[in-house]
Amino acid sequence: MSEIVLETKALTKYYGDSLAVDHLDLKIPRGCICGFVGRNGAGKTTAIKLMLGLLQPTAGSSRLLGCDSSRLPPAIRQRIGYVTEGHRLFRWMSIAGLEKFQRAFFPNQWDDKFFADMIEYFDLPKKKKIKHLSNGQRAQVSLALALAPNPELLIMDDPTLGLDAAIRRQFLEGMIGLIMREGRTVLFSSHILGDVERVSERIVVIDKGVLRAYCSLEQFQEAVRKVIFTFADSVPNEVNIDGLLHCKRTEKQLELTLVGIDDEQIAEWARSVRAENYDIVKMNLEDQFIEFTAPANQKRLFKWEER
């Protein structure tokens, strides 16, 4: 089994009475590109800040590169790149000034050429101050600053938030630059499922602070599916099937979104309710995510363990 670079055990955080992260258990192996997805307020930023030791957990623990997150020494921080939410950098500094500032913290690992290449690739004016850059440009500077020290672990908090499609694509391609470097581990949170789909191998779904899924992207895509059952007469009044996320009825059809159900179980259920026929409809990741985390399904929490 490959080395675990990020591990959380029952990580829990309360803000007063409000539960932000609830018993989060994660193990991310070295070299994994992991998408961290959840709705607004799901607890992604809190979880990331807990992992980085910027917040103290109410209960549980977190370890990065084998070290307790709440006591990360400078030597470990040096091996972790962090792109903050909203790309909050020192507004009065120029890109060149920020490069100089950042380089001072990575004396033996700063890659001047890589930084220069990224700045050129993103076509950023080095003398321009951060406050005069657009949102997208600030995101690009953030990424370049985080990648130039060649970190073993890169954690990004919603790095593509507020960026247009073209800038997002450029940003992701820049990120792939890091991924190409062997053995690098990336955890990035995002609302944009297309981004996650493009670069991630694994997906973490968090909802209201609770871990809902942690598996490979393919497993998630195979697990959440929509099935339309057609009935000769009328649809059954009660739908009793495991893994039901969502149910929509028309006069002769029943549209079910299911999770963790295989073809055989679907066929068996179709027979049991005397469905005339059924179609398994392909869903994109965004639809799957929305169905999977829809508020109406909170009472149907599906405890999903990786197979």
């Binding site: 910027l54 020192f90 009065w92 500094m93 001072a104 913290f105 004396p107």
Partner: protein, 233 residues
């Protein structure tokens, strides 16, 4: 290298306020000194004060020396103002505090980050006010300026005002770092700084004044370090 990088950044962020404080201080004191030289020499000429009166115990307290009476409050207000502004700028204003996660995730200890801030602020006081204060003292002690040149205590009192400005900065920093509600313990830092000032003004002995300031600075510093190390960002 890491500390100097942090220090440079902090000093650069203090720079506009340092310059403003220096300019205001020079402008105000040059006007006051011109008026004060004229008045004080007239007082002496018409025997309101005889030589030595102004340094006798019965008249003497902080800001009681005639020249200090005019310049002292300005130096105090300026120093406290600089302390407040730098404290608010570093620890209160959301635009700056939003960069905390980026700053904290540096490959240095939190103590180093805070030490850079405190060092930069001390340097801001030293660079923007101290040379001017030394210049003023040099000027007012020249024999041709005042009939009765101000004593050394005049100079030391200026230092007390400058240090009180730094104490105000520490109090503001402590209040800014606190995550409590403003009407509860968050106000402790600022209230403590205010109490230190009142205590200082009620003292006559310089030894007592410096003892009060030293003890209160130590208390504020220890609280700031503890709060900063425990604080969530």
């Amino acid at each position: 290298m890491r500390f100097s990088s942090l220090l440079k950044k902090e000093l650069r962020e203090c720079l506009p306020w340092m310059l403003l404080a220096a300019i205001v201080f020079i402008a105000v004191t040059s006007v006051l000194l011109r008026i004060e030289t004229y008045n004080e020499n007239n007082d002496y000429r018409y025997s309101r004060f005889s030589p030595g009166t102004v340094i006798s115990n019965s008249h003497y307290n902080l800001t009681n020396y005639p020249t200090m009476n005019e310049i002292g409050p300005w130096l105090f207000v300026l120093s406290v103002g600089l302390g407040l502004v730098l404290g608010i700028r570093q620890f209160w204003i959301p635009n700056f505090t939003r960069t905390w996660p980026f700053l904290i995730h540096r490959s240095v200890s939190r103590i180093t980050i805070l030490a850079a801030k405190l060092t930069a602020t001390s340097m801001a006081f030293v660079i923007s006010i101290v040379p001017i204060w030394i210049g003023i003292y040099w000027y007012v002690t020249r024999p041709e300026v005042f009939t009765v040149p101000p004593p050394l205590r005049f100079f030391i009192e200026g230092w007390i005002f400058i240090i009180l400005g730094f104490v105000t900065y520490l109090g503001t920093a402590l209040s800014g770092l606190s995550t409590a509600k403003w009407y509860t313990t968050k106000i402790f830092g600022l209230a403590f700084a205010a109490v230190v000032m009142l205590t200082t003004f009620s003292q006559w002995s310089l030894v007592w004044i410096f003892t009060v300031i030293a003890v209160s600075t130590a208390i504020l510093l220890s609280q700031i370090f503890q709060t900063f190390l425990r604080r969530e960002f």
